[in-house]
């Protein structure tokens, strides 16, 4: 895969580049500021990019904004956003276009290199990958979407793992169930959330959106 790494701290950027290259992927560009990131994303069109939220020049959410702007230009451009903290607010903004190919993780997720690169590959493939911390926050929040109230407990746990970005196979392993059982649960929860079987929309992304959409 061709990867762009956008991170302002040299040590972290360097470490990330080395980690990604160690897994046999190619880092085609790096960026250290918001404008550089946007430029790199739009000109290099990487298979996937790793973007830090807080970057110069304003040290606010430059990276996040660059990622969102790039995805407005190129729908579904795969971006994995990294941050020192995760906010539901940002997760919702990233997922809002429903195009998939999005990931949002705490920076320390790179500690587990296998899982990190796995998430990176999932995002590159158009899937979603959410940090368990985001999902945990969602679970602890009070109100939720009307459709979600009709889900059974099991469907709930399947949906939350799906939101983390796991495949049916991985969910089956986590819950000690067969893959066919999981696919039955997913079909029924898609039905309850009113997500139709349409090839052009990413059903899993829509399910996660329903999960996040609690207004």
């Amino acid at each position: 895969m061709r990867v762009v790494v956008a991170e302002d701290l040299y040590l972290l950027r360097d470490g990330m580049v080395r980690l990604i290259e160690a897994f046999g992927h190619e880092v085609v560009g790096t960026a250290a500021t918001g404008p550089e990131t946007l430029d790199a994303l739009l000109t290099l069109r990487p298979d996937v990019s790793v973007v830090d939220v807080r970057m110069p020049p304003t040290q606010s959410d430059e990276g996040l904004r660059a990622a969102l702007a790039a995805r407005r230009e190129v729908r579904g451009l795969p971006v994995l956003v990294l941050s020192q903290h995760v906010e539901q607010l940002y997760a919702r903004e990233l997922l809002a276009d429903g195009a998939g190919g999005i990931g949002y993780f705490l920076k320390e997720s790179v500690f587990d290199a296998d899982q990190f690169v796995d998430a990176l590959e999932r995002v590159a493939g158009g899937g979603t990958a959410m940090d368990p911390a985001v999902i945990a926050k969602l679970l602890s929040s009070g109100s939720s979407n009307r459709g979600l109230e009709r889900l059974t407990e099991r469907e709930h746990s399947v949906l939350s793992l799906m939101a983390e970005g796991l495949s049916n196979q991985a969910i089956a392993q986590r819950l000690f169930l067969s893959e066919s059982a999981i696919s039955k649960y997913t079909t029924s929860l898609f039905g309850k959330l009113g997500i139709t079987d349409d090839d052009n929309t990413n059903r899993r992304v829509l399910a996660v959106l329903a999960y996040l959409n609690k207004t």
Binding site: E87, K137, S141, G142, K214
Partner: protein, 419 residues
């Protein structure tokens, strides 16, 4: 008939009030008149014998100034509802020091009684209100005193005039009666404008008050800041620092074991990684407590929205404004909202909360309303008191309406220049 009755009643009430105003306003002049009368009385005996009554009159004026002003204020407040702030200085606390002496804010005294006496005297002497009161006792007789004396004086003239034979005397008496009756309902009203004009705290006093307030706030802020820094230091010391030491130890041991016991080394390295993750989580919590990252990245409105998303309650945010204020103000308001959300969940057992952020001509207005059971009050040292203090630093105010049974409505207002 009823009109006449009500007019008579007003005249009677007015007459009594005019007498009261005149009596209070003329109290000090009466003391001086008595002193001068005594002096003249004793004039033949010795010229200097009049000094005594004059000294007594001075002392009497000093002692009476404040009670006269108090009475005036009380009368005006009672009759017209116009409350005039007194603006007297409030005594600070008298505390016992470790040496056993008492400190009253000005000096050390051997006993509490001495300290209180000393404080009272010094405060009285330094209080700019004393000069205002003295000035008022000089002005009041010439203004309110003169006007309010008209009805009583008319009555006196009437009584004297009718008690003597002769047409001119009768005429004077009739005139006095007319003046008394016609002036009775109105004469006392002079008290209000005079009091408002001359009894108000002067700008010097207002400034002195403000200085006191700011001094107290500064002390509060300094103490709070110091406590906060100590907390951060302790958290870092017991948390991240200790964990980093453990991390170094694990890595050093793993390095040693690499050749001889690779399995053990691998386990230690995994442990080190877990330790790093834990200390990162701790640091994140710490940072969130100092200043939430989303506040830095997005400003107040989005930070409040993020707070609403994280709350276990059903929180709606109405934000008519996209504004960036000074970071310290944003931080104070943010932590205020966080405190109120916590209260709504923990104490009020609310299920929905409505937050609205708006700005008007004077500044930022944040309303937080829940559907809980109410009964919130500001206890000294409590969360709401802390909120009030935090906002007071920016001249912000907190209004709390929380009847028992709910709902609770809190309005925070912070003045700020438009940006």
């Amino acid at each position: 008939m009823r009109q006449v009755l009500s007019w008579v009643r007003r005249a009677c009430v007015g007459f009594v009030r005019a007498c009261a105003v005149a009596a209070v306003a003329l109290l000090v002049p009466a003391v001086w008149a008595a002193a001068v009368a005594l002096w003249i009385w004793w004039w033949d005996a010795h010229l200097w014998s009049g000094i005594g009554p004059l000294i007594w009159a001075c002392v009497g004026t000093l002692a009476l100034a404040r009670p006269v002003c108090r009475m005036f204020r009380a009368l005006v407040a009672r009759w017209t509802g116009t409350v005039i702030p007194a603006g007297y200085r409030q005594p600070g606390p008298v505390v016992r020091m470790s040496t056993g002496y008492w400190w009253n804010g000005y000096s050390y005294e051997r006993t509490r009684r001495d300290a209180l006496m000393d404080q009272k005297l010094r405060m009285w002497w330094r209080d700019p209100a004393v000069w205002r009161d003295l000035r008022f006792t000089a002005i009041a007789p010439l203004t309110a005193g003169v006007v309010a004396s008209v009805p009583p004086a008319g009555v006196v003239a009437a009584v004297l005039g009718f008690s003597q034979p002769g047409l001119p005397a009768r005429l004077v008496g009739a005139l006095g009666l007319v003046v008394a009756v016609a002036g009775a309902p109105y004469a006392w009203r002079i008290a209000e404008p005079v009091a408002v004009r001359f009894l108000r705290p002067s700008s010097t006093m207002a400034l002195a008050d403000r200085v006191d307030e700011l001094t107290a706030q500064r002390a509060d802020t300094t103490v709070a800041q110091a406590a906060e820094i100590r907390r951060i230091e302790r958290d870092l010391h017991d948390g991240a620092q200790a964990r980093l030491v453990a991390l170094g130890l694990s890595l050093a041991t793993a390095e040693k074991l690499m050749e001889t016991d690779p399995d053990q080394a691998r386990a230690l390295m995994r442990q080190a990684r877990d330790g790093a993750a834990t200390s990162l989580a701790e640091l994140r919590e710490l940072v969130r407590g100092i200043t939430p990252p989303v506040l830095n990245e997005r400003g107040l409105v989005d930070a409040v929205r993020a707070l609403a998303l994280d709350s276990p309650l059903d929180v709606t945010v109405d934000d008519g404004v996209q504004l960036r204020l000074d970071p310290p103000i944003e931080s104070a308001v943010y932590f205020g909202v966080a405190e109120l959300l916590t209260n709504a969940a923990k104490h009020a057992h609310a299920s929905t909360v409505r937050i609205s952020l708006a700005r008007d001509d004077t500044g930022l207005v944040v309303d937080v309303e829940d559907d809980g059971r109410g009964g919130a009050d500001v206890r000294a040292g409590g969360g709401l008191d802390g909120l009030r203090r935090r906002l007071a630093v920016f001249d912000g105010t907190v209004e709390i309406t929380s009847p028992s049974g709910g709902p609770t409505h809190v309005r925070m207002m912070v003045p700020c220049a438009s940006s």
